[in-house]
Amino acid sequence: MTLATIRLQFPPAQDSSGSIQLKVSKAGLSIGAKRILQDIDLEVRKGEVLCLIGPSGSGKTSLLRMMGGFISASEGMVLAQGRKVVAPSRRIAFVFQDYGRALLPWRTVRGNIELPLEARGTPRAERAAISERLLDQVGLANTSNVYPRQLSGGMQQRVQIARTLAQSPDVLLMDEPFGALDAMTREALQDELLKLAAIQNMTIVFVTHDLEEAIYLGDRVVALGANPGRIAAVVDVDLPRPRNQLTTREDTRFLALRHRLRAFLTEEGRK
């Protein structure tokens, strides 16, 4: 039984549309003559961490950007809580991989985090308190008056995450956010993300090419096939929470999933 034949259809949850944050419905994407995505049907439930993996060419970043409203689907649609997504919105926050380019270099850390608050019109007095709290949450207390270029990569990415949290979004879309960081920083940030997700019951869609990261973080892993990108498998990750870098990664279920997904990816990568 190959991974491709495992298509776990989740029975409609207890309270149907109320808990579906994002729904991608029969979506396809073509750029010019090139078919990037085909026939994507996906539901993201409230409070879940959904990981998207796939080889290069599977269009996972394009899919994420489609969910974020940065590009429009050529066919089908993306719905956020029942409403069609046509443009980026504050309720769907996006974390970019190239954090260096996504932060305003001329503003301090606090200035960056307060950007969504300014956009929303939050009164000045409140902004400082909110940004301090967020910095605390991402483990960056005492850096408010520092400029991004003075921080390490991992810290800059945390600033970006804090900034997205300042939006109080319904959904967090993350495009390989830890891809540019070293292994140790990556693991630390993975755990912090899980902690944040748990505290705030956040809905996260996480794109990564790192298979183990996807399994470690996710409640569900969606594997995309390449050329054109389509959903090849949707897998439940029933590992216990809270996750732990040592014990979870040695859990037999983790290893089994990793084994199957790796075989799948290698096969898809050959196509």
Binding site: P88, R90, A93, F94, F96, A102, W106, L115, A119
Partner: protein
Amino acid sequence: MRYAALRFIETTFLPAIVLTLWQFAWSKGWLPRLFLPAPSEIWISLTRMVQSGELLLAASVTGWRLLVGWLAASLLGIALGIAVGSSRIGHRLLSPTLEFIRPLPASALIPLLILAMGLTDQMIVAVIALGSLWPVLLGTVAGVRAVEPRLLEVAAGLEMSRSRVTTRIALPAALPDILAGLRLGLTLALVLCVVAEMITMSGGLGGQILLASRNFRAADLFAGIFAIGATGLVLDLCIGAVERWCFRWRRV
């Protein structure tokens, strides 16, 4: 300490030698006194002009014209530059025209403006404004177009209004290019001011040196040239200071 002293000597010894030889050659009568006065004469001229206030007067006349013209040009140039730079169609429509106008000598506008406005003060300010508009405009357009696209996506994600995106993101990001344009504009403004003053003989530093030349007062001429150079230097330093203040985040 010794190092600094050595550096100081190295940089000043050549000018000192030149001045000394110059003064010496002049006293021996080897130099054409018509246009090469002694350094001592220049110094006397300079102090005299400063004390009598005529230098300050001329400098303030020039400075005033400069300020008004350049400020107007800068505000207009930045506003237009933002408009053209942020609109893809606007840029495609206007950029060939802008590129064609770029190499045009700004002083070539003077005769036309004289026709339109006569040999007046307003004409001088208009020349300065029209001339220094281009570097500012072109610099702003370049800066706005070079804004990191990722930041624009961030702004879109925050549903920022167009005006907010311009003031909070585009302007700060384009600031290096805008300041470079402002600097060029200021240099050009001084040049145009001096030329226009020479043509209209209407006071100011430019008018003064031409007058000195016509009356064969070489020492006054040199003093005036020095004053103009000093003015340019001071203006440049001012903009340099503004630049440093704007980019203090770069030097942490």
